[in-house]
Amino acid sequence: MQRPLLEVKDLAVDFIVSGQKIEAVKKISFSVFAQETVVIAGESGSGKTVSCLALTKLLPANAHIRCGEVLFRGRNLVSFSEQALQAIRGSKIAYCFQEPTSYLNPVYTIEEQIKEVLWFCQHIKGKQARNYAIHLLEQVKIKEPLRVLTSYPHQLSGGMNQRVFLAMGLAGRPELFIADEPTTALDVTIEQEILKLLMDLKKEYNFALLFITHNLAIARKIAQRVYIMHQGLIVEEKKTEELFSNPEHQHAKELIAAYEKIGKI
């Protein structure tokens, strides 16, 4: 059988806060195959973001990977040096973070930030990079790409920043794209377009997608498999359709019930 592109085994992450240990992620295992779309869904605070950040050791200083392996193409990233990881982030494994406005660099324009990714990951620069940046912004349905390029993050709206961040992630042409709630600031009409774009680009560039969301409607639309997280554990793993027809864990049932209810909110 083919080996997964990403294979996480017994990963556990602890935080230390005022001398106390918090077990945010408790020995979880999951995998993503090349070109596959996998969704991790779960309630707020269940450990979705922390698990993803741990994959390339992007964790804050008070965090500690207690145990586990993160095998990317068979190599264990947990044992990699910071320098080696930097070569992987962006170009092999790219992220789109949950709160883009706080991760975009406030003192550089959008143009400078996208160009940096393009140079670092694809060695494109100058006029060519600028044109490519415009193309990327158009792809994520930004209406005035030229104005947005010359803007700083605080000069853009919430939904614009979210899409800029998505464009930056895609600029690296990664093998694995990790998107953490990338459409929460967008309305359904644009959300649908962005999801379609991701699916199209996936086909074109053959990357695997690990998509974090609290919205099972999205999972149903794009994912082959879904993992449900609850209080730091993965409590269920299923093919998407199976999850909907036969959820087992109580929390999976609750999430599906809420999804069925959205029409009635």
């Binding site: 709160e99 609290h214 999430l255």
Partner: protein, 255 residues
Amino acid sequence: MIIQADNISKVYTLERGILGSKKITIQAIDKVSFIVKEFTTLGIVGESGSGKTTLAKIIARLLEPTSGCIKVNPVYIQDFRKDVQIIFQNPLSSLNPKMRVCDTLREPLLIHRLVKRNEEEEKVLELLKLVGLENNLFYRYPHQLSGGQRQRVCIARALAVEPKVLILDEPISSLDLTVQVKMLDLFVQLKEKLRLTYLFISHNLAVIKYVADSVIVMKEGRIVEEGNLKDIFEHPQETYTKNLIACAGCKELMK
């Protein structure tokens, strides 16, 4: 009337090049007027970049409009800083990174002298409970919380001062649906209990349907559609509104 927006416009100017030779202007808000009735919820929808957040900041007096003015009814609003609270779209950047959750929630209580010193802690714990957060987040810094936890700390902070008007800019978008429903129920409940007035910005029509009495639809800085909820849902005029309603899941909404 509790708040009235009178012919509000906002133009942002971006300076370019040395000596700011090239100037770009953005008309973020273009002659917007509306009235918010006391004890009602006004929903604001509109595509990304249409000026919703800008409008919210102007109403909260955090941003000067280029022209036009905001009027408030002194019968309901005496102390603007206390009576009108805003919950921002991006929780991480609206929380002070150096303040722990307990201090974040204690500060407004202190400033507005709302509780006695020895009752502060109790009040803070009560607020956490109200928004469904556990006590063990008490000493955390904002970056030590998950996205949805931060969003709820912001909600708790706004509720701490018992405001009259609450401006909510996408207040629940990063919460899972089960928690979203809980928060919406909380808002509805508080509206009755504290006689609150809401300005509720959301891109999710299901949410607007749940909480709002009337709706404004914005596009490119202008109001392109407004009215009571039922009319807009049943007879949308704008293509944008029609698309929003036509999108997946919304059909059942009409029932």
